[in-house]
Assembly symmetry: C2
Homo-oligomer: 327 residues x 2
């Protein structure tokens, strides 16, 4: 939850004069998103989301995010559409911060995802991967293998405060993942890279939209699949639900079939995805400023997930049938 920057009513009303969105009727800071300040606007033209990008998001990346959402929306993906002001630009400035207005998507994110939700996510992720194929702007993934070591270095000296032995556990895993085993020849494209349950909306059982592209980048498509295995297929008690994983992977495969190499790499990619979220959560956990408005997420959840992936021997353990078969 996050509203870091408040905006005055007259300032916002002035800002809206740059758009064809009618009269401002109300705006509420909303308790979603941990990186930026988000407001739900009602104007005489409808409902919109106003985002003020806080400093953790690099300003140079914003054109990528906005162009990507526009591209995906134009290619049939249900995601917010950036609203262009009268001068044709969606990216603007408000209260000294980069700001953009996007269309509001109705729908609810599932607090307790079920098998049907996981299947919906698999289908939507694959469609997003296909729709992103001809998107031309590139953005490197700053949170892939080479980005993990600096996070580890930032947290290592205090890691054992969070759990005894955590420092050694992380060091060993990082050494393994950076020993040359990380794949380099898998199909690449635009990935969401943060498709957790609070970024996917449903109306009833129907997926109504995907939001929050602030981690989107170019990387292996199967890495996005591995992130979702972490994000969607574990229960609150940290046990792995293979029925959810199978539903997710099968739904993905019906839209975009994983190659044999991608399937074989899944356990390793899932370990990488687990350590990526473990490390960013750990750094956040150790660096909560006094009076912080955001409660950090528990990094230890990802220690358990990582241990599970370490025990996996093949993609079959994720419920995937051998290539060519469908459950």
């Amino acid at each position: 939850m996050a509203v870091y920057t408040d905006v005055a009513a007259d300032e916002l009303a002035d800002f809206l004069k740059q758009y064809d969105l009618g009269e401002l009727l109300s705006y509420k800071g909303i308790a979603e998103g941990v990186e930026n300040s988000n407001f739900l606007l009602h104007t005489s033209a409808g409902s919109f989301i106003l985002t003020l990008y806080e400093k953790r998001v690099a300003k140079n990346d914003l054109p990528f995010f906005l162009a990507l959402m526009t591209h995906l929306a134009e290619h049939g993906i249900n995601c917010p559409l950036p609203v262009k002001a009268r001068d044709g630009e969606a990216l603007r400035e408000l209260s000294g911060r980069p700001a953009a207005i996007i269309t509001f998507l109705e729908g609810m994110w599932p607090r307790k995802p079920n098998v049907s939700h996981c299947a919906g996510v698999g289908e939507a992720l694959a469609k997003m991967h296909l729709a992103g194929a001809n998107f031309t702007i590139k953005r490197a993934n700053a949170l892939s293998v080479s980005g993990w070591r600096p996070l580890f270095d930032a947290a290592a000296s205090r890691a054992d405060e969070v759990q005894p032995g955590l420092r050694g556990f992380l060091a060993a895993e990082l050494d393994h993942l950076s020993s040359g085993v990380w794949p380099t020849d898998l199909p690449e494209g635009v990935i969401h890279a943060d498709l957790f349950n609070d970024n996917v909306f449903f109306l009833g059982d129907r997926l109504s939209g995907i939001i929050d592209f602030t981690f989107a980048c170019n990387d292996m498509l199967a890495y996005d699949v591995a992130i979702c295995l972490n994000a969607w297929c574990f229960e609150p008690d940290h046990s792995f639900n293979v029925t959810k994983a199978r539903a997710f992977l099968n739904a993905y495969g019906r839209v975009r079939k994983l190659t044999a190499s991608e399937e074989a790499a899944l356990p390793l990619l899932a370990r990488g995805a687990a350590i990526r979220f473990l490390l960013t959560r750990l750094v956040d956990w150790l660096n909560v400023p006094p009076g912080a408005l955001v409660k950090p997420k528990d990094p230890l959840e990802y220690v358990r997930k990582l241990r599970f992936h370490q025990s996996v021997t093949s993609a079959r353990d994720y419920g995937l049938m051998p290539s060519g078969l469908v459950a």
Copy 2:
């Protein structure tokens, strides 16, 4: 800002089946209100606010608040109208907490109130006082004179940590206010008791509504006026803006004329209002739980306001013309 309790989508959809509000389309936790969890709902019937009452609000008081809003709305006051479920009851339970849905008021609260806003508040407050006259349910003001001593006792030992000498300053003021000078014979009725700028909405210069009746109670009407002098008529640098005060008092007086006794009591009532907010803020300031999502408000703002009121010799210092004259 506050969302203390999250609600699952299916749980909320089930809850809404008790109402005639159509299908749930979305809900967002909103960063307003510090006592309760508030969500902005979109349903096929429109926009609504769902409130989950957290433990600081006494459950026994909820029927008073809801009945008062209904009464005021039916008597022409622009305030949220509690929505009754099919069984005729507005007060229900959700996620183990008392819960109610109220209509959504469009409008923006002024971050930087101007003279025109102050006049709007004066007029609306007086209309609310008149509209409340025939409301029959009673609720005592737990935060009047007799409620201040326990707050002081809770904070006294650490008050000087916040500002050296604060304990003695508060003790002397409390002794004065509880020495028999506090008025007992002024006109009473239903007061809002918390009409700060984040509880008053405007569309342009027009006041569109008053919200948040969780401190409403029976007390002297002029005490509500004194609270607004504190809440609306000081600048961010804590200086008193007599032009705003005059606009507020004159607008109030055009709807409901203050009696001579009320006018004479204003400086004392304003001191009481200042110490009431000073004490609750001080207790909150000294008791922020680790990991708190709510940033406490600065109690020292009210030390400065209280010192100003101590220096006031008559209501004329608030910009009020002698009784019978209007500026």
